[in-house]
Symmetry: C2
Amino acid sequence: MQQTKFLLGEDRIPTHWYNVVADLPAPPAPVLHPGTGAPVTPADMLPLFPPAVLEQEMSGERWIPIPEEVRRIYALWRPSPLFRARRLEAALGTPARIYYKYEGVSPAGSHKPNTAVPQAYYNKLAGTKRIATETGAGQWGSSMALACQMFGLECTVYMVKVSFQQKPYRKSMMQLWGAEVVPSPSPRTAAGRAILAQDPESQGSLGIAISEAVEDAVSREDTRYALGSVLNHVCLHQTIIGLEAKEQLALAGDYPDVIIAAHGGGSNFAGVGFPFVADKAAGKQVRIVAVEPTSCPTLTKGVYAFDYGDTARMAPITKMYTLGHDFMPPGIHAGGLRYHGASPLVSQLVHHGIVEARAVGQLACFEAATLFARTEAIIPAPESSHAIRGAVDEALQAKEEGKERVILFNLSGHGHVDMAAYDAYFAGQLEDFEYPAEKVEASLANLPKVKL
Amino acid sequence: MQQTKFLLGEDRIPTHWYNVVADLPAPPAPVLHPGTGAPVTPADMLPLFPPAVLEQEMSGERWIPIPEEVRRIYALWRPSPLFRARRLEAALGTPARIYYKYEGVSPAGSHKPNTAVPQAYYNKLAGTKRIATETGAGQWGSSMALACQMFGLECTVYMVKVSFQQKPYRKSMMQLWGAEVVPSPSPRTAAGRAILAQDPESQGSLGIAISEAVEDAVSREDTRYALGSVLNHVCLHQTIIGLEAKEQLALAGDYPDVIIAAHGGGSNFAGVGFPFVADKAAGKQVRIVAVEPTSCPTLTKGVYAFDYGDTARMAPITKMYTLGHDFMPPGIHAGGLRYHGASPLVSQLVHHGIVEARAVGQLACFEAATLFARTEAIIPAPESSHAIRGAVDEALQAKEEGKERVILFNLSGHGHVDMAAYDAYFAGQLEDFEYPAEKVEASLANLPKVKL
């Protein structure tokens, strides 16, 4: 029987995360304080993050050990399986060999627990009793709730109110894992109260929820904050995906010509892609491709510049690809990919030409996800469908050229809790969005003036 | 690091299913025609099932080969993992070693595809073009939709109307896998039209949906019917669960003292339990325990007698534990366990004292499921929570007695699409049900008079 899955025993969970900073062609740009414009110091960040996390955020070490306590929790679902998509290949009639790493096997259904677990662990170690965080559609909030439960921390999740009302299942998952879920804006924080005073019916936004979680964390001695994407330590923790995949591909006797992942804030892309940056730095021929939605084309249409991490200009200023912190992307169903900016590390790699980026429309993504579900059986999360679209396009190109090609993509999560998006697709209610050139131009006019 | 998961490569997917009929202390009772009361013949059943499935339904062979085409689809998610529940053990402070087999890794999220896939395959082989089936909450319908998609069959699922309206995610999954989903009662069948004529607002029932699917299947030459539980061939296909588990436990260096599974129609119980009946027949000391809800206590409070398989008295009459075909269980959240009867094979094993049965209340089940989610991280389906309750009780008893005990239970599915049930539990909206003695007595008065 031809092999479908390539599995590793839990003794093969990597012992170290890979830090791509060690292989960058230039040092990362400094991170600036949103108020003063001066480089942020550890002292600025200690009310938010525990020391070990801050150390990782700043580290230039290539390999950073994974604590045994974290590996023990990882073992509840890791190593995740690597699949050869034989039925998809057959349906496409491609000579390409398509592999996918499947992160939907985590109890939360996505790759997010890979970083939630170490963040909870390092907080526990530092004496933190409680975590405050925010969530949009709920993938991150549920992962953080799970991680806090594993280490006996309390967890409060500020959930964007419209999602709190429309995505009750994610809220229920957080509560089952013991978290308190607060619809945001809330009367619990000054930031929330200010919004509610202006508009008692406010449906909330990720920006507002971030403000509430940060305020909550800094106002209580026992509480710290946690973020699920963008930052260096988040990308670091996710590299376990690519490290495992590399070993699994070796079991399959293959090495990828191209690695593909969806890109929103950057964490799942970094997870599968960064370990191959190391190979590329060592001279290997390999392409690494980030796929983003045309409705929020940060890497393909944005500028590489200093900008605020959030709309409210409370988050640090980082050098990254950005559409401008004022840019409000249209409401596509892959909510996890609606971010005006990008991970500074991913941005730098795109800037140096080490990573490629392309944008795809949501209809093409749902078409690819449907083909995938009908061949490979797994129902993809809408975010992950961008990676599938990218992989299918590569496979079709290989077919056109009559060439073999080894494709690896990351299937970052399942879509069991996102079926409404598929309903909308089948009902013909989804549309593609034109690139909003004027809106981006206006937004880019508001970048902060940074002098270094 | 202590091992958490015991994995098998896909080359270890069993090559044969185990047929418990070969190890029964007496031959199974005949199956009777609901109209004539005479034993059913293959000719009666051929409009409904393909020849290979009927042959398995009647077979006394101990081992039945699994076709390579079926193993290839199984390989998309099988062998499923066996976990040692170390964190649950620690939380309980028990000397027991608790293992669980996890069937939620299937693309449909439960054990149901284990039989849907071979049923679709044998239909394809027999030239069937289309399958008609019914579904209550949607677990079976989505599994059959998936299986039909894998073999290029059309699939129509009659879905109980109240679930069609209240459980839209399962409906969406079926549609994504290419099935047509018809809310039942429908105007498509005489059975549906008769109900609608009486009550245009009818919310439907599983009995009505079965009638519609059977009528659809017998009225079209290209269409056959498929059932997801109760029948011998369904139990047979599920034995792959227990066969794998036995090999995985050997990897762990253990053998179970007790095997536990939830019991509704019998398919997941048979899946994990039957392969251990073989060991018991060979002289091994092992307990096999079916756990059912107190609200529908078929095995613990029913009688072992001939009864109709359905309320409408259109399904065959089989000898089984039954609460009477008129019995209407209260609407508990583990919808998959609301069946007045039981698998004839499981019933016979209980009757002979080879299998034990016990009943548990739904509050105790959700309590156990919550503890499980907070220790082992996976969110259990409400049906599966009955097995968890059973395992926890065994582990607590071992603690009380200060004795080691090896416990194996089947976690038949995840609860990502059942979060509303957890919401109701946390909101204090669920109740336990008294055993409805008078209702059962009345219902048992209506058993068919069978002379053999």
